[in-house]
Amino acid sequence: MSETDLREELKAPVEPLLPIEKKLIGWSLGLGIAFLIVLIAINHFVPIKL
């Protein structure tokens, strides 16, 4: 993306997210939180020993 494009894009009105984009964001966040919980559980039951 050139700098002129970026300048134009910054001035452009905000485009609403497409339903599919919302779905992808939702799945990404959901999976991230789910994996975080799994990792926290593993970390709790198998704690690190230094």
Binding site: E3, L6, R7, L24, L36, I40
Partner: protein, 221 residues
């Protein structure tokens, strides 16, 4: 140039501020501090520099309280966390790209497997080569060479520091802030500032706390 300048300017601000906050509020949880720096500072070089500064500050404060930690643990935590983020961003971007091009925005042009190689950052091959050579020197050669390896790595570290400084210096020289401001730098900077200080560093702190609280570096004997 605009975005890279923005990221670097914020990284410099973070490197100047976050290690001191970590020393003040997290000195009793050194590895939480190390992981937090790795999660909060955006560019790899700045994150590692921030980890190094945090380690020095926290070790100094702990030493003043009579606790002497082994060096290297805080910086290693920062580096490991940062590298894992990089790996997962790569994997996740690939998965999303695959879903988008094959299931959502299906065009007549199919991305070929060769595209992966074309877009692959080739400097990674240099990392792998250096790692392979170092591994061979450490385990595949005589014990004398293996013993000299840490000192050699220390010498090479001087170059890392020099190139790191040169990177920041070059971006500083090339950044024309008046021009950047005209191109909407202010608005982007405001968005970046709000997401960074309103969201990223707090989520980073929470995750670091969940995984590293109560874990201390070994004490120096």
């Amino acid at each position: 140039m605009l975005v890279s300048s923005l990221v670097v300017v914020f990284a410099v601000v973070e490197v100047l501020i976050l290690p001191f906050l970590a020393q003040t509020f997290l000195w009793q949880e050194p590895l939480v501090a190390g992981a937090w720096i790795g999660l909060a500072i955006k560019t790899d070089g700045a994150a590692v520099a921030g980890g190094g500064i945090t380690e020095s500050l926290i070790m100094a404060k702990a030493a003043a309280e009579g606790i002497k930690y082994q060096p290297g643990w805080i910086l290693a935590t920062t580096t490991t966390v940062k590298i894992f983020i990089d790996i997962f961003i790569g994997i996740w971007a690939f998965i999303l790209g695959y879903i988008w091009t094959n299931h959502i925005d299906k065009g007549p042009d199919k991305a070929k497997a060769g595209e992966i190689w074309q877009r692959f950052p080739k400097f990674i091959l240099g990392f792998i080569l250096v790692f392979a050579i170092s591994l061979w020197l450490a385990v595949g050669t005589t014990p004398d060479i293996a013993k000299a390896l840490p000192a050699a790595a220390g010498e090479a570290n001087v170059f890392r520091v020099i190139f790191f400084i040169l990177t920041f210096f070059s971006i500083g020289v090339l950044s024309d802030f008046r021009k950047l401001w005209q191109q909407g730098f202010g608005r982007l900077a405001a968005v970046y500032f709000v997401s960074l200080f309103g969201f990223v560093i707090w989520v980073g702190l929470l995750i670091s706390w969940l995984f590293f609280s109560g874990v201390k570096p070994p004490l120096a004997s």
